[in-house]
C-alpha cells in the first residue's frame, strides 16, 4: 500500500521583508509553511544570522568573547568590518552608550556612530537603541534620519514609544522592530497600532524578547510557533518575520560567564554551545533574523541552516 505524504493546506503566509540596499540586500520571511517543510509550501528565504556591535567597549563581556574581536572593540566601524569577515549576514549595532547610566551619548553623536558603521560595511544593518524607552524615541529618530534611504531595521519600538519611531521609519524608509515581552497578545496589538500609522506589514519585525537556553527558551519557542501558525492560517497581524536577540541574552547566563570548572567543563566550548543551541532552537521555531555575539556560534548556526535547507557545506 502506497504511503500518501500528508500535506497541510495553509491559507496564509509570512510577510517578506527587504533589508539593506542592492546589490547587498537581504530578504527574510515569505514562508507559506512551517520551518523547513518545503514539501507543503514555499520557503523562499533562509533565516539570516548577524553579529552584534556595541558603540562602546563592553565591560561585562567574558574574556573568551572579547578576545575574538581584540582591539576592534573600541572602534565600532572596525568591529563591524571584523563581523563581516567572520561571515555575518548583517550587523546589529547596539547604541548602549546612549543610556543615561552609561555615557548618556546624545542622539546626534549616536547617529554619527551609526553612519560610520553603515559606511564601513556593505551588509544590511539593524540598529538598536539603548533600551530606555524615553531616550530611544529621540535617539532612533535621529538614527533614522542619519541613515535615510539605507533601509535599516530599527528598534526596538514598544507600546510607549512606537509612534515617534514608526513615523521616523516611514519618513526615512526603514523597517521597524516591535518588541513585546513574551506575550503574543501584546505582539499582535503592537503590530496593529504600528500598521494603523500606515507602515506596511512587511516592514515590521516581531521581537518576542526571547530567553536563552535554560532561562525561558520554551516560552519564546512556543510563542514563535503560535505566531507562525497564526500567520499560516491567515492572521495578518502576526504574519511578520521574527528577530531573536540571542547573543545579548546568552552571554548574561552563568553558564556562558563561568570560567572552566570540573562540573561544567571548558568555558569557551560551553559558552559557544549555549549560544548556538539557543540559536538553532529558534531557527526551528521560525526565527528569521538571529543576532549572535560569538563568531564560532555564527558559524555553527549557519552550518545548521545550510543543512536544513539542503545546501551543501
Amino acid at each position: 500500500m502506497a504511503v500518501a505524504i500528508v500535506k497541510e493546506r495553509w491559507t496564509g503566509q509570512v510577510a517578506e521583508m527587504n533589508m539593506g540596499l542592492e546589490p547587498n540586500a537581504l530578504k527574510v520571511g515569505g514562508e507559506s509553511t512551517l520551518p523547513f517543510l518545503p514539501f507543503e509550501g514555499g520557503c523562499p528565504n533562509k533565516p539570516v544570522v548577524g553579529l552584534e556591535v556595541l558603540d562602546m567597549e563592553p565591560e561585562e563581556w567574558p574574556e573568551t568573547l572579547k578576545i575574538q574581536y581584540g582591539d576592534a572593540l573600541t572602534d565600532p566601524a572596525a568591529w563591524a568590518r571584523k563581523c563581516v569577515d567572520f561571515g555575518a549576514d548583517l550587523i546589529c549595532l547596539r547604541l548602549i552608550s546612549a543610556h543615561p547610566d552609561q555615557k548618556d551619548t546624545s542622539p546626534e553623536a549616536a547617529a554619527a556612530t551609526a553612519r560610520a558603521v553603515a559606511e564601513a560595511v556593505n551588509v544590511p544593518l539593524v540598529v538598536l537603541g539603548c533600551g530606555m524607552e524615553e531616550k530611544d524615541a529621540g535617539l532612533l529618530a535621529a538614527v533614522a534620519e542619519a541613515l535615510a534611504g539605507r533601509n535599516v531595521l530599527i528598534g526596538c519600538a514598544t507600546p510607549n514609544n512606537y509612534k515617534t519611531i514608526t513615523a521616523s521609519c516611514m519618513v526615512h524608509g526603514h523597517n521597524i522592530i516591535a518588541s513585546s515581552p513574551l506575550d503574543i497578545n501584546l505582539a499582535k496589538q503592537l503590530n496593529i497600532l504600528i500598521n494603523e500609522m500606515n507602515l506596511p506589514l512587511n516592514r515590521i519585525a516581531i521581537d518576542p524578547l526571547v530567553g536563552p537556553l535554560g532561562y525561558g527558551l520554551e516560552y519564546a519557542y512556543s510563542i514563535m510557533e503560535r505566531a507562525r501558525i497564526g500567520a499560516l492560517t491567515g492572521d495578518k497581524m502576526l504574519s511578520m518575520p521574527v528577530i531573536c536577540f540571542i547573543g545579548s541574552e546568552t552571554w548574561k547566563t552563568k553558564e556562558a560567564k563561568t570560567e572552566d570548572n570540573q562540573e561544567w567543563g571548558e568555558q569557551a566550548r560551553r559558552a559557544v554551545l549555549w549560544e548556538s543551541l539557543t540559536a538553532v532552537s529558534f531557527v526551528q521555531a521560525g526565527g528569521s533574523v538571529l543576532i549572535l555575539r560569538h563568531p564560532e556560534s555564527l558559524k555553527q548556526c549557519k552550518t545548521h541552516i545550510a543543512a536544513m535547507t539542503g545546501a551543501t557545506k
Binding site: 503574543i184 499582535k188 496593529i192 491567515g234 492572521d235
Partner: protein, 264 residues
C-alpha cells in the same frame, strides 16, 4: 466564523423595488455596507416576486451589481438551478451555492454544478419528507450529503451542511436538536464538512429577535458552527461572533479583537 450577509434578498421591500426598477444603487449600498460591517459573503436572493423565467437574468444582474461594489464572494440563494448557474457564470471568485437538499434528484444537479464551477455548496439536512424532527435524523441526512460530496469529488471543506433552524416560538424543541446535530455533523468525516445555519429563522415572529439570534449563534459556534446567514446590521451580533472566536481560541487575542475580526 464566516458571516453571510442576508440583506440582498427580494423579500426585503427595498431590494424587491430595486430589482423591479433595475436600481443598482440600492444593491450596491447593501453590498458595500455589509462588507464594511465584516461580512465574508453576500447572500443573493431574487425573492418571491420574480417569476421563474426571469430568475436567471435577475440573479445575473444582482451578482454583477453587488460584485461591482464589493470584493466579497456571493452566496447564490435560489431554488432554481437555472438561476444558480446563471449566477455562477458571472461570479468573480469562489461562490457558495445555497442550496441543495438531501433529495437525490437535487444532489444530482447541484454537486456536479459545484464541482464544474469550483464553487462551495450548502446542503440542507432535509429531503422530500420535510424537516427532520431530531438530531439523529438530521445527522443521517447530513451523511447522505457527505457521501454525495465524496462521490462527486467535492472537497469536504467546501460542503456546508445546514441542519435547519426553526423559530423558537413554534418549534422550540428543535433548538437543542440543531445544536446536537451540528456537533454530530462535525464528526461525520475527516476533514469535517462545514456547517451553516440561517440564523434569523430562530427568532421569526418572536420578541427580542436580536437577543435570540446572538445567543443562539454563540451556542451553535460552541457546538462547531462554521458560518451563518445573518443580519449584519446587528453590531452586537458581530461582536459576539468575534468574542466567541477568541474564547474558543480560534484566533489569537489582542485588545483590538473586535476590529481585527471585521477586517479579516
Amino acid at each position: 466564523m464566516e458571516l453571510i450577509g442576508e440583506r440582498i434578498n427580494g423579500m426585503f421591500k427595498d431590494i424587491k423595488e430595486a430589482i423591479l426598477n433595475k436600481d443598482a444603487a440600492v444593491i450596491q449600498y447593501w453590498a458595500k455596507r455589509q462588507e464594511e460591517k465584516g461580512a465574508h459573503w453576500l447572500d443573493i436572493n431574487t425573492g418571491p416576486t420574480v417569476s421563474p423565467e426571469e430568475q436567471p437574468a435577475v440573479m445575473t444582474w444582482l451578482v454583477q451589481t453587488a460584485q461591482a461594489a464589493s470584493t466579497l464572494p456571493c452566496c447564490l440563494d435560489s431554488t432554481s438551478p437555472a438561476a444558480i448557474e446563471a449566477g455562477l457564470k458571472v461570479h468573480r471568485g469562489q461562490a457558495l451555492i445555497n442550496s441543495t437538499s438531501a433529495e437525490q434528484s437535487k444532489m444530482d444537479i447541484y454537486f456536479p454544478m459545484a464541482v464544474q464551477y469550483g464553487a462551495r455548496l450548502i446542503g440542507l439536512a432535509m429531503n422530500e419528507a420535510g424537516v427532520p424532527k431530531d438530531a439523529a435524523a438530521r445527522a443521517a441526512l447530513a451523511m447522505e450529503l457527505v457521501v454525495n460530496a465524496d462521490m462527486h469529488g467535492l472537497a469536504m471543506e467546501d460542503l456546508y451542511i445546514d441542519p435547519l433552524v426553526l423559530p423558537a416560538n413554534v418549534a422550540q424543541d428543535h433548538g437543542p436538536e440543531v445544536i446536537e446535530a451540528i456537533r454530530q455533523i462535525k464528526m461525520l468525516a475527516s476533514p469535517s464538512p462545514k456547517t451553516v445555519i440561517g440564523l434569523s429563522n430562530v427568532s421569526q415572529r418572536c420578541n427580542e429577535r436580536r437577543l435570540l439570534n446572538r445567543t443562539y449563534m454563540v451556542m451553535c459556534i460552541t457546538a462547531g458552527l462554521d458560518s451563518a446567514i445573518v443580519d449584519m446590521e446587528d453590531d452586537l451580533l458581530v461582536d459576539a461572533a468575534a468574542a466567541t472566536e477568541i474564547l474558543l481560541n480560534r484566533s489569537i487575542y489582542c485588545d483590538a479583537f473586535l476590529k481585527t475580526f471585521r477586517q479579516r
